[in-house]
């Protein structure tokens, strides 16, 4: 693991997710650019001190020098946005598979370069757009693919959070959003980059549609902030579907209210992240349906990503663990020389990451241009 030292929220989530099934073991890490903090984090995690590194370059060099079986099978990158490209590149060049936090990179340009590096390496590169890991999200995608929705006409993706309102009220910036509001670390966007991109990715994952252009307005409601804390946009998809997407961190009282609705000519579906075990399905002129996780009527994609029986709720960590499990299968196959399954692996790819970066930059550009329609430069 690179990043994720003491006090980092997302690092702990990655470790729980990787740990859950007993198939992945954390054996080495560079948890902080501060050597002392990295060392202490390694102790917390019962690691061999010899494999707790003070720089990611050192880690990549020393681990790749170990014999296969002893060395790490892959690296998990949970450092800040501006480090993703650098760290991933070093490990890929050292021949080590990569699981990387989103966004893919600091900028679209960096993201495209990283795509080239990854493609040339032939190694596995998984991006943790974790919301795609939920079983009922997979069921939703399977429904779309099976044509149950007919032709898709409209997409509505929402991602309101309210946590930043505290900063506004206090006229002071809370710790959690600190580096996210710093353009030199976070990139050109805060809110759309951090959570808007999840909404975009989720809508894409379920619908299979390709986003062509956006007309966006990004807002900064908290005085003194250099980056957006809210944004809304109209969407045009290839093939004629239309949509609305918004994300916000100043939506007082909302928590992590990611929702997506996909409307087709035959049926529509609706999924709410805060009630992830249910998928609402509405066929025209039929009783509304609630598909629930763990039932025999769900398809193999959902079943494969389910750990507990119906009625025993699964949550965020389990969904996250599904990304690790799928990436782990791909990595194991690569290491063991197994052929990939015909249906491919089911985890967000570096291509999804490039689309995400193109989405963020298009939204920012549109907003600066008075919401003019702006194409994604994928």
């Amino acid at each position: 693991m690179v990043g994720g030292g003491r006090g980092a929220f997302i690092g702990a989530v990655h470790r729980m997710a990787a740990n859950l099934d007993g198939q992945i073991e954390l054996v080495a890490g560079c948890f902080s650019s501060n050597p002392e903090k990295s060392k202490l984090s390694g102790q917390d995690l019962y690691l061999d001190p010899a494999r707790v590194y003070t720089s990611y370059e050192e880690m990549a060099a020393k681990e790749s020098a170990l014999p296969l079986g002893d060395r790490i099978d892959f690296v998990s990158i949970v450092a800040r946005n501006d480090m993703h490209y650098k760290v991933a590149k070093v490990f890929l060049e050292a021949g080590i598979h990569v699981v990387c936090e989103k966004p893919l990179a600091f900028s679209l340009a960096e993201g495209k370069q990283l795509r080239d590096v990854a493609m040339n390496s032939g190694l596995v590169f998984a991006l943790t757009h974790n919301y795609t890991g939920y079983p009922m999200v997979k069921e939703a995608r399977a429904m779309v693919r099976a044509g149950k929705l007919g032709r898709i006409l409209k997409v509505v993706a929402e991602y309101p959070q309210g946590y930043a309102i505290t900063a506004l009220k206090e006229q002071a910036d809370g710790a959690i959003s600190n580096w996210r509001m710093d353009p030199s670390v976070s990139g050109v966007s805060n809110c759309i980059g951090d959570i808007g991109s999840h909404a975009e990715n989720l809508a894409h994952y379920i619908s299979g549609l390709e986003l062509e252009e956006v007309a966006a307005e990004l807002n900064t409601f908290i005085p003194g902030r250099p980056l957006d804390d809210d944004g809304s946009m109209l969407l045009r998809y290839k093939g004629g579907a239309r949509g609305v997407l918004y994300a916000s961190q100043i939506s007082t009282g909302d928590e992590n209210n990611l929702n997506v609705r996909i409307y087709g000519t035959e049926a529509s579906i609706e999924w709410h992240q805060e009630h992830p075990n249910e998928l609402i399905v509405k066929f025209a002129e039929q009783p509304r349906q609630i598909w629930r996780r763990g039932n025999s009527y769900n398809g193999p994609e959902a079943a494969k990503n389910t750990r507990t029986p119906f009625g025993h709720p699964e949550g965020f960590i389990e969904a996250f663990a599904n990304i690790y499990r799928a990436a782990g299968e791909a990595i194991a196959d690569a290491i063991l020389g197994n052929p990939a399954p015909i249906a491919g692996y089911d985890f967000p790819s570096i291509e999804d990451g490039v689309i995400g970066m193109a989405f963020i930059e298009a939204a920012v550009k549109s907003s600066k241009n008075n919401s003019a329609w702006t194409k994604l430069d994928v």
Copy 2:
């Protein structure tokens, strides 16, 4: 009543709403431009045949000639959009108060003319934007007015319906949407005009904010239709609040899913028309609150518009009846020469109607101009 003959949905709703409290009695009408249909409708309603008219001009003339007390106190106009202006004008000029279905008129220009006529007449003019009649909508407005939400930052208004998808599937137009798709009757918009304007009005009623400009995209998904059946837009309110609004008739499986969310610096509120007896209130860092109709903790505005105790659900007709009751109070006061209450009457006014027309025309204009920001010409 003018319009609302046999088979007309909204006419029957108006009659039930007016009837509910036993304070308004239907005594005369011109229910159809077809004299025979008008006559039969009058029979259905147990009316004196002498007061069932074959033209609205005749009705206005004959009724206004009757002595006060015998003549109608007001007219209820439930005819098609293109008739609103003509009918209302004739009755206002005959000295008769008016309750009128929305939209106010066929066009913004007509609407403004009608505003002049009404203003000059000094008579009561109520527009049945009925969703403002719900008690918990009134509670929501009272909360905003009392400053409980702090400064409002964001508005999200949604109005998806799915009924028109049947037309798309059958490639044939259903009866209900027939005249609504005819620009010579309906005006420049179908979906935004019919239901988008409800969402706009509701957001305005609760938030008190004035909408300044929109960036809209209107869509026509059903082939061969001359008017929109779907539309989405970004909103800019005076004072800096921002928003999103969309309305749709092709949202498969949705029924009458009007929702509005208002986000302030201190709290946010959320109201769903299909569960109208509840108002969701979210203060920052406090347990979520569900305010329910009929409780002692609700304010006088909600209490005044409540007929049954808590837990005994009220619905669409009761909300509609609240518009009639408030208009009825104003009309009674005008007829009896009572002074208006200091706080004013609580029903949608002709000014709301003009705003609605300006909203519809701005949205259509923006959409034709590739979603350019377009100001409301109120």
Copy 3:
């Protein structure tokens, strides 16, 4: 109308319900045993003073002496429990049809006598167990009748309210529950009699099952009260189904939370009075279904009792109005000499009232006998 003078909640509901469709007109009444109050109530309602009576005996005598067409077609009895029998008997004997509030009578013995009177009279007798008037309750019953649930195994009926907790907290009795706590007016039970009997009736209406015996415990939590304010019981139905029923007035924070669940071998259904426009249907190993009012997939029983389109919520008054409408049809047929429809009329009968009285008395008896199983003496 007999009873329902100024300040009486249920009288006002009856009038709105009767009024809603414009088919029933209130023309005479005896609104209070207090002549002055009765007179003023009549004025409030714009009645002819000559038909506002000071005793129900006078009303029955004078009205029945009027020629058909001028006289009332039926009487609506909304007086207190101990008056139901006396008033109903007088009107039935005067040849006037009856709509009566529940419970049917002060005691089971009185109820059975009234059944004899009504049967012998050949007149219409409708009991306003109003919760059976909801469209989705009718849909539920139709599903059971159509065999969609298979054989019914289990019934769960709940009716928690919390309003009486205030009395407990204040150690003083609130106005609303005043006479209900007086055994000389209310009968042998307060809570089970007032609301438990609604739960029993609703479960019976939907399931079609006949309740055979109960094992009950009735509680009085508010000190100094002579009657129960809470009660729970086990149920045995004829044919082997089993159940649980409870009702409560001390369930803090609950409003009018009447719910019923019916479990069959093929499917189960669940209906919540506070969200009456939905019916939850669960088939084994299938996605959960939400049946919603006003849709084309609902059967004719629900459709007949529906006034507004899907998504336009109906509530308590509309359901109540459905009882009046069905009773009104039966009364009109009787007066006009029309044959009854083959399927019969759909309103709660005097037989339902007798079952209700037997249920109340069995529950009280069981509770006094340390919850011993006690048969209903229907």
Copy 4:
């Protein structure tokens, strides 16, 4: 681990739960009475073959012979009901701490004997009544303890499942419920023993009330089954509170619908296992409150048992992991000689297990005695 070999649902859950935080490592096991199956299960779990045992007696003997630090710190017993007593006794007598699946034992008599053994040993004994591990259940308990509900009057605990209906439909017994229907393995009850006891324990955990007696009816709807598949009962708690509890496996379409409602004189609370991140709180005459996991307004008990921020749902495995974490703390303290915290440890104890067994036997006895009130013999 003892039990939980290939194909066992609950064994896998225990392992994920223990694994989640990276603080507990599975190092030895006897996974099946079938030596080959035990061995293969050990391979699946990457265990040292030398520590995969063919009998639990062997395991207890060999592990306790290892030096501290090398030997297992505790055993997790996930074998069938009839094995709990025997296995736990052997490990306790070998000086090894125990985490044990519920029910505590095959019978109340066995349970009491085991209590004596455990008490005398001075070792940690934790019972995995896992539903008490949910953060919002802990919040509920803290509210009750803080007196926010006032005096508790009523408890309603429900646990309907529907999975067994398939067996009824097929007239054949599904694999999952196989041994549960065998009295020689399961004990005197199936449904009440398996899930009714969870409802009893949860109500006790939150309310703090002691159950005194029950009036129960247990049913067997699936022909040919020797044990109950459904049961309902009235409850009397010490101190005057009353209640209702039912559990069912034939409630078609229900999944794992454990719910509990606690009504006090000041407020009531309501928790639904299938939506575990929310706690509904109803104060008299105040807006309903939804307390949500992960917020700053929750108390330390909930906070300590929370892994992800608000809005990032936690589920069944995380709740289960909280039992392991609390037991793990107690075991670590015991091994390290640390004093126990003043507030004690927060996991279900052997005393809870004895209460559970007394509950099961009282319910069965009452049912056989025509639902006579029957005291718990704790």
